[in-house]
């Protein structure tokens, strides 16, 4: 019998994998995709709780999360294109101007 716990544990596995991607990767495109992964993990929990409560509120929030992800991907990718045009690279390590200059690089 598949219970809510199965879905929630799947969602936490996906969230942890997405988190690892955000922390580990330096390629900004992959980084954005890891964020999408984390948002999807949250959507699974929202749909699961919506199912056990028997109302549509969780699904509504998941719906708006998808809209938000679309907006975020559009603006994020535009920023990546801009960074690539200026620096010729999509590595997040290229963007360190605001770093403390006394900090050892």
């Amino acid at each position: 019998m598949i219970t809510l716990n199965h879905y929630l544990i799947l969602a936490s596995a996906l969230f942890a994998i997405g988190f690892a991607g955000v922390v580990l990767r330096r390629n900004m495109i992959t980084l954005l995709m890891s964020i999408e992964l984390m948002l999807n993990a949250v959507n699974i929990t929202l749909a699961g709780f919506s199912r056990i409560h028997g109302n549509l509120e969780g699904q509504m929030v998941a719906f708006f999360v998808i809209i938000l992800a679309a907006a975020e991907a559009a603006v994020g990718l535009a920023i990546i294109v801009l960074v690539f045009r200026r620096r010729g690279s999509v590595q997040s390590t290229e963007l360190g101007e605001l770093r403390d200059v006394t900090d050892a690089h």
Binding site: L4, L8, L14, I17, T30, G54, L56, A71, V90
Partner: protein, 167 residues
């Protein structure tokens, strides 16, 4: 094992393995393709959770629009193999991050372990386009309109940012 269980375990395995592929693939195009697989598996899981409309939106918006945008940008940038090499963390740090994210998984799993499953009897139309649409255009009409404004702002912002020359 019932059919639902078999479907769930297969889809969960596919989702987790391809999610690991998204994170570990060196070339972003492979990450994007792995992400498509994860999104489709999750869409089927949405159907199992009686969220049919959400599943359709997941495929249309995520796999259809967002992923196409990703693939388009990857093709547009046309990164050379030497530009894909990441000056990332050392192996010890990578191991630590792996431990950290695994403990994040354990903590979340432990918290979620307390959730109780009492699958209630739900209406036949739960989660289909009619019931979700009714909800969107009555209770959630203001967030819906705001989402439209947000998408317009994001569209204008993306065009302004990515435009070659501002005049």
């Amino acid at each position: 094992m019932t059919a639902i269980e078999v479907i769930f375990y297969i889809l969960a395995a596919v989702a987790v393995i391809s999610a690991a592929g998204v994170v570990s693939a060196r070339n972003p195009i492979y990450s994007a393709l792995f992400l498509v697989v994860t999104l489709f598996a999750l869409a089927v899981l949405f159907v199992l959770l009686k969220a049919e409309f959400l599943a359709i939106i997941q495929i249309l918006t995520y796999a259809g629009a967002i992923l196409v945008l990703f693939v388009f940008i990857i093709m547009l940038l046309n990164l050379k193999p030497d530009e894909l090499i990441e000056r990332g963390y050392g192996n010890a740090m990578k191991f630590l991050i792996g431990i950290a994210s695994f403990s994040l998984f354990l903590i979340l799993g432990y918290v979620f372990h307390f959730a109780k499953w009492q699958a209630p009897a739900i209406n036949p139309g739960f989660g289909d386009a009619a019931s979700v649409g009714k909800e969107i255009f009555t209770r959630y009409v203001v967030p819906f309109e705001l989402a439209g404004v947000l998408l317009t702002v994001a569209l204008v912002g993306a065009v302004v940012l990515a435009k070659r020359k501002l005049d």
